[in-house]
Symmetry: C2
Subunit: 541 residues, 2 copies
């Protein structure tokens, strides 16, 4: 027996209608390349998104066509988020930080028909232009220099009347956007989001147990809009009428801090690197910025060192919220919050919990698998995290070789090694490929790294496996020291010995200038492993 | 092109798994018939719900069978909410306040197979027992007096081991529960909720823009669990791990206030009648109860007089939140909140907005229809409110005659006459059948009633249409005076004349002892109309 409820699809059409009806006066602010702030309202944003949908139709774009974007975070990019799906096409956000090889591979693999690109990024486009073939290239122009043969975004919109637009109530499983993972190994793989997955994810973001986004919030996404749709949070804004501030290309701490203060930002999100840099600026000028409106600095993309949470709170009264997700998960998997019973616990206990990845959000289910099968949620048993839920990928786009990331019973294998404690707090211990397996026992490189980064002389630290004659693998630490500070190997190992068993301690510490990173700021340990592969076998090589 | 996301259904199975995993220690507290408080945890609640599912299977209950509940608000009723759908059957909550005729009609129309009933309600059952035929009657016993031929709920559970239970990932459109509307005209009609509609509705409740339910909340639903599933809110609790307090049969103000204080309740909900009574008790004993934890008194079911919001806030620092919904809408349609631009407006302005039904919640869409077609959202144009969304009924259960409540293009006709202002604040002006149409122009009986109830001598007031020779219909007011206070017709009409045009003013005021009410506390104007139908035509009849 079925329910007798309306067969009403969850679509972006519904989200747009809500935005224009309920929150027409809400502001969307963008920092432009000349550093000035562009301001307009939800109402104008919806009108322009509708014009874009009409213009794409006129250009011959077909239902389901993939349309690339190569843009910073700004209002025009936000128009692409809604205008492209509004006429049935699929937005494919391209990562500006990838190399020409990866970019052309991704564009050709997705078979992108049209490219939207910032004028300032045209020089980057030149590097892969010959390897791809777009039917049209549309330039979001700042200075008005549109190269021959390309179209002007503003001219395209100007030719349309938004009153000609009519909403379609799409099948909720229809694709709206795609994003390729910047894998550290193998070819990039595409995740394809649907109307349904995007609306459900947005609702979870707006739940009190999610980010609690509401009409009094002003959100500034530092995380790029080409990185899992800026963590999907911009889709949540029009559900609740939250204000938006886009930083454009200015992601340096002073520019961001200035925007936070001026626009009274209440919630922001980005990778740890952003906040590490910002902490330094704040420490140097503790009273320079009024950030009294800021309620949440959402941090994800890599693990957040406990010391960072502590420093922001104790020195600047700013609340870091640790979250974890993946492109394949839309991306929100966990958000950290203290359970009520922990609210009166002592500060070290609270910090220990807050440094974990947190609790699974609604609609996401977890399990962990060891060599022998599924493991208990006891906070000790380490295994690969598997996840499922209505906004998690079931497959990669045209990628038969990606099938091994999914279990037979329909779970996604995250590639993360984790523990889950009896309260359900998740701790990511490592990537499967970064685990150190010493004499058959696992050592978590991430825990060692976080502890090293808690040492006052250490700026960054990566721990990784190198070959060892007796134990097969042993951990080695690569450390970047803080400017003007010093610490030796023995001091750092002694620092770790306070917390970890002897067999976990790195066999050596190498001091380097910089940790190599991926395009989204994650440590590229594969490079370190290659550089130092024989370090312990031939220590003097 | 479809998205590549998991085909993961939104079901109560998912909600139960989340509850048992994340919030096992959360408390569910129930006031028992002997006034003592029963306490147990989410963990125990889930275990017992699973046992119930197993027991029903053993009793021969089939997938899709309807199972009646005839119960107050308590933990066992909450077990029925989850245990019955957990084995594929459909919970049919029966309204204790209906007469024997209506109850037997509803039970037979739904073809309920089994009845769960409170021991204390067995005398009520006797009144319709002969007209219905259940395969089994299961008694939730307090004193252990199980009549011959009936089963004991506790014995049923005791025979099962919850470890034998396995979750089913149902089709999300499968029915889980049903509720008949207590129509003031025509036969009662059944709304059938699905897994999907229930989960989506629960998510909306837990959104910051909804009720913002979260893990620090303790919810006490005063609204009966047989009334649109206690407004669907209990389904939201396990999404976020909020505590629950069930008042059992004790809905009198002192009992509720005692429970609020003792259990540190943060959010509660019920019809205006409850709060009018409570205000009186609080006014008499302003310092008797510590309600400092209470953040929200949700009020719905009928319009909330502005004076009630004002009195609770100014005299007791308690926040009344006006909401509106219908059984056919799961039921949440609007929740009142002040838009940010109103937060600094003066108090009378704020109260005017807070007395409206508020803003549409997520997933609910509105339109209003007048005689000539759809109307503008200008705050002036009055028409019948039509709604749609994924948790709104598309039909009534086995009711071809109910089809006229749905438009051809798939909207539900609420039967409410409303205006919507440019900010999207909804104001219900009347029920279509309660409107007064004087000389072709509409007069809102609800506005007149609210104004009358704002007069200090008036306890309750109903305004309704009676026949008139010249104007076809004219408004008549029926007023119940406050104990020990007095006011005459002229004084009350003069009170209204300050606010309304002359032609809106009731032609007469009749003073009565009590306004007749429906089983859920709404004014039964049909009785007044019948009693006074010739009042203006033959004023001395």
């Amino acid at each position: 027996m079925d329910g007798l409820m309306m067969d009403f699809p969850l679509t972006l059409s519904m989200v747009m209608r809500r935005a224009e009806l309920l929150f027409p006066e809400k502001e969307i602010v963008t920092r432009q390349p000349d550093r000035s702030f562009h301001r307009y309202t939800y109402s104008e944003w919806i009108r322009r998104s509708k014009k874009l949908a009409l213009a794409l139709k006129k250009l011959g774009v077909k239902d389901g066509d993939r349309i690339g974007s190569f843009c910073w975070n700004h209002y025009q990019h936000y128009e692409l988020y809604f205008g492209i799906p509004a006429m049935g096409a699929v937005l494919h956000t391209l990562n500006l930080r990838l190399g020409a090889e990866d970019l052309s591979y991704i564009i050709n693999h997705a078979d992108d028909q049209i490219l939207f690109i910032d004028e300032s990024l045209l020089p980057l486009f030149e590097k892969f232009r010959e390897k791809v073939s777009f039917k049209k290239v549309i330039v979001i122009s700042q200075k008005g220099n549109i190269p021959e043969g390309m179209l002007d975004y503003e001219e395209l919109l100007a030719a349309e009347d938004d009153k000609d637009f009519e909403y379609t109530d799409w099948d909720e499983n229809k694709a709206i956007s795609m994003c390729y993972t910047s894998g550290t190994t193998g070819k990039p793989k595409g995740t394809v989001y649907s109307h349904r997955s995007t609306v459900l994810h947005a609702m979870v973001c707006a739940m009190s147990s999610g980010l609690g986004l509401n009409q009094n919030d002003i959100l500034l996404p530092v995380v790029p809009m080409f990185h899992a749709n800026a963590w999907g949070i911009p889709f949540a804004a029009p559900l609740v009428g939250c204000g938006l501030v886009f930083p454009g290309p200015f992601l340096d701490p002073p520019s961001l801090l200035e925007a936070f203060e001026q626009e009274k930002v209440t919630i922001t999100g980005g990778v740890p690197t952003i906040w590490i840099g910002m902490l330094k600026v704040l420490d140097e000028n503790p009273t320079a910025y009024n950030l009294s409106k800021m309620r949440t600095l959402l941090v994800g993309g890599s693990a957040v060192p406990k010391s960072l949470i502590d420093d922001f709170e104790s020195r600047h009264n700013l609340n870091i919220v640790h979250a974890w997700g993946m492109t394949e998960m839309s991306p929100l998997g966990t958000i950290n919050s203290l359970k009520p019973r922990l609210i009166n616990s002592d500060r070290p206990t609270q910090l220990n919990y807050r440094a974990t990845q947190g609790l699974p959000v609604n609609l996401v289910e977890f399990r962990i698998r060891g060599d022998e099968g599924l493991l208990e949620f006891d906070g000790q048993s380490m295994g690969e995290l598997e996840v499922r839920g209505p906004y998690i990928a079931s497959a990669y786009y045209n990628s038969p070789e990606g099938a091994d990331k999914f279990t037979e019973d329909g779970w996604f294998k995250t590639g993360d090694i984790a523990t889950i404690d009896p309260d359900c707090y998740l701790e990511i211990k490592d990537r499967t490929k970064d685990l150190v397996k010493s004499g058959g026992e696992w050592i978590s490189s991430v825990e060692l790294e976080n502890a090293l980064m808690g040492h006052e002389a250490v700026a960054e630290a990566a721990v990784f496996a190198v070959a060892h004659e007796k134990w097969q693998e042993r951990p080695l630490a690569a450390v970047v020291l803080q400017e003007g500070k010093s610490a030796g190997k023995d001091e750092l190992i002694a620092h770790l010995a306070k917390e970890f068993p002897k067999w976990w301690l790195p066999d050596d510490v190498v001091f380097i200038e910089e940790i190599p990173k991926t395009s989204v700021g994650k440590f590229k340990k594969i490079v370190l492993r290659e550089t130092f592969q024989n370090h312990l076998i031939n220590p003097h090589s």
